[in-house]
Amino acid sequence: MKIKVCGLKQPENIAAVAALGANYLGFICYGRSPRYIGALPVEVLAAIPASIHKTGVFVNETAQNINLLIDKYGFDTVQLHGDESPEFSNAFRNKVTVIKAFGVDNEFDFGQLENYANNVDYFMFDTKTSGYGGSGKTFNWDILNNYRLNVPFFLSGGISLDNLDEVKKISHPQFYAVDLNSRFETEPGIKNTDKLEQAFDIIKNKTLQMKYGVNEHGYYGDFGGAYIPEMLYPNVEELRQQYINIINDADFKAEFDDLMKNYVGRPSPLYHAKRYSEKYGANIFFKREDLNHTGSHKINNAIGQILLAKRLGKKRIIAETGAGQHGVATATVCALMGIECVVYMGEIDMARQAPNVSRMKMLGATVMPASSGSKTLKDATNEALRDWIANPVDTHYIIGSVVGPYPYPDMVARFQSIISKETKKQLVEHTGKELPEYVLACVGGGSNAMGMFYHFLDDEQVKLVAVEAAGKGVDSGHSAATTFLGQEGVLHGSRTILMQTPDGQVIEPYSISAGLDYPGIGPQHAHLYKINRAQYVSVTDDEAMQAGLLCSQMEGIIPAIESSHALAQLEKMKFNPSDNVVICLSGRGDKDLDTFIKYFGY
């Protein structure tokens, strides 16, 4: 669904709203409206990013004046909001896109639109008033079922945060865009950007849900679902029923936003890496998740889930961890909230990530060794699931990536989506537009990548690149390149792609980076892979280690070995000099110093 914000008139406010990334901005050129633009300087409109359609709104204006203002302000769309005829409307179509607006009430006769159908690009249905719109009231949207032409329409009139849920339920095939106006203002013509931002979030989630998002049963195309034993059904079902309501609750949002800002240190910077840009011949940006408290993106999800667990009345938290980053993030938020924390970790991982074991213990968590199976991340996940089976009522399981049964993949993606949400805004500041040409991230289970892709999924022109760990090479028998080596199957509660034997036994992966050492990927990644929305590539241990060293010495940033995989992919890509490229620097390399030291002999 597209978004139009209408009735702007004040320069700073226009710039602030433009930065939110609407699809259309509307400027009222009708003297009797309180939102009339008057003598608004042309530069204000010229500064709006080209990706946003600038719409002039007219009421029974002369063709001559409309043409004059189109030229003056560079409108690419006009909205005719009076009694303009089909022929009159059609006359502008060689220059601009034409929207014809109608006031609708219960008696509205959709038959009168037939003459317009071939003469305009869009209809707009607004609430019928004695004047020409602007009443702030809604009309009975059920009446839209009577509209049968195939011209797409904008819905206008009284749309607010309170009725967006209703708007989202409208499933008319021609429903194209919403028009937001008076209910998002501090005074006529001045928009409240906080409210607009909330509305954009709600509306865009809906768009994601339609195309790349999850359906009501937890599926992304063929992948996802909740393949869990009945013993886990009540826990997972409780989450499924509550998670959307809880995370959309104003109180939850306020607490989440506050912790993100004041505890985690967000927004994380979008850093323009100048020496990298020179080297690779494009504008390279690092999204600095490594600067978050606890050193990686994992904290975003841990904060979200601990707030959720509190609202579900849970008294005890369990988690699994591989490298220990998610375990540390979970131990941290449990300390913050004063909740008991048990982290399962494979015995082998405990030995190779000893400093993180100590960190978790110091934070007050109990670290339980997983000694079954291959004694690594997948077995830690099994042990956590077994614990949850035995403790169905008082315990919440904080899964660390976009894996597991529905709703986890969607829930974790939403908490991590703050990464791309911030990036879009920051890109406007750096480049004047919110869309880059490329977005890159490494994939273990896929949470930093999903967070980095999330708000770009529907912008099909943005190329998404997911980098898996090839280990010692995809053909070496020591690899974690899941999409390359895996087949479809079921792992840890979701249908996805996983590395397995022909008999369906899960294969233990290998990567030098413990955080990428997982035999599956989240189901949404499996879907994006299968439908080719994102490109999945892999990078070897050696390539990643070299990239980690290069980044340290060229940019003064020691990246996590996980993130170094994404950096290494730059070597294999060809860019145009004007390309903007964002890489998710998911974590910092402190935890990996031992491995770097052993590898390079420093």
């Binding site: 049963h217 679902g225 909740a226 393949y227 869990i228 034993p229 009945e230 013993m231 059904y233 009540p234 079954s372 199976g373 997948k378 077995d379 099994n382 699931l385 077994r386 089976i389 035995a390 169905p392 087949q487 479809e488 199957g489 079921v490 792992l491 840890h492 509660g493 996983l498 397995q500 022909p502 008999d503 369906g504 036994q505 899960v506």
Partner: protein
């Protein structure tokens, strides 16, 4: 009507079922063990096929699965071993295991092959009701295989009713929310749960499993359900010397 349905028509109380993992302690024992259990008077069997990540199982069955995988047990091998099943064994047999090996084998092919070999039903703990009903049930129904659903003390009455409607042989009542290998606990809550389910007068018989390990727990379970299943305790026996010779005594010790 498959063998399971016939069994439940002819016998309504004190049904005893035994679970064991195919390929444990060694390959080529599946049918021998089945035959010995039938001779010892067991009513029906659950033959587990091993999986690398058995999340619903405790240490005993985890260990038997690991050992079976090491021995080379796969679905293909199991189906080869079962080729002579119906020449030697007449009691109903269920296959029990996790969903991923079935997906790899091919769900339709799996159901067909199992039915061909004389298998009567399937228990797949990680194949829940929605996914079964919406995506896969046709393959089970077309091959006359019963799919067995689990019910726990937390399962709501509405969901139990739905499970009853989708089932056509029996419903597997878990003695508690736990993984396999625990011990049956009879707190008030659990008794209430058994009574609650019994009072629902379901169309399918109920069999209690998880934590049934001796005569006392078996007898107790049979007060509330049509029978009970012994798993981990029997798998432990298979880890002992001369386990074949001990099978009659084991069954006797649970139900004479």
């Amino acid at each position: 009507m498959n063998r399971l349905n016939q069994l439940f028509v002819s016998k309504k109380d004190n049904l005893l079922s035994i679970y064991y993992t195919a390929g444990y302690p060694a390959l080529n024992t599946t049918v021998d063990i089945a035959e010995a259990l039938e001779k010892a008077g067991v009513d029906f069997l659950e033959v587990g096929f091993p999986y690398s990540d058995p999340v619903a199982d405790g240490p005993t069955i985890q260990h038997s699965s690991e050992q079976a995988l090491e021995n080379g047990m796969t679905l293909n091998v199991l189906f080869e071993e079962l080729a002579e099943l119906r020449k030697r064994v007449t009691i109903p047999i269920l296959l029990m295991g996790y969903f991923n090996p079935i997906v790899q084998y091919g769900i339709e092919k799996f159901c067909k092959k199992a039915a061909e070999l004389g298998v009567d039903g399937i228990i797949v703990p990680d194949l829940p009701m929605y996914e079964y009903e919406a995506l896969y049930s046709a393959h089970f129904i077309n091959n006359n295989l019963s799919n067995i659903f689990l019910v726990t003390p937390q399962t709501s009455e509405a969901r139990i009713r739905k499970i009853d409607a989708l089932s056509n042989s029996f419903i597997y009542l878990l003695s508690s929310s736990s993984i396999t290998g625990g011990s049956l606990q009879l707190t008030n809550n659990i008794e209430d749960y058994y009574k609650r389910v019994k009072a629902m007068e379901l169309k399918n018989p109920t069999i209690i499993g998880f934590g049934i390990s001796d005569r006392a727990t078996f007898t107790k379970a049979c007060e509330y359900a049509n029978g009970a299943i012994v798993g981990s305790k029997f798998v432990k026996l298979l880890g002992e010397e001369d386990y074949m010779g001990k099978i009659p005594g084991f069954v006797e010790s649970i139900r004479s």
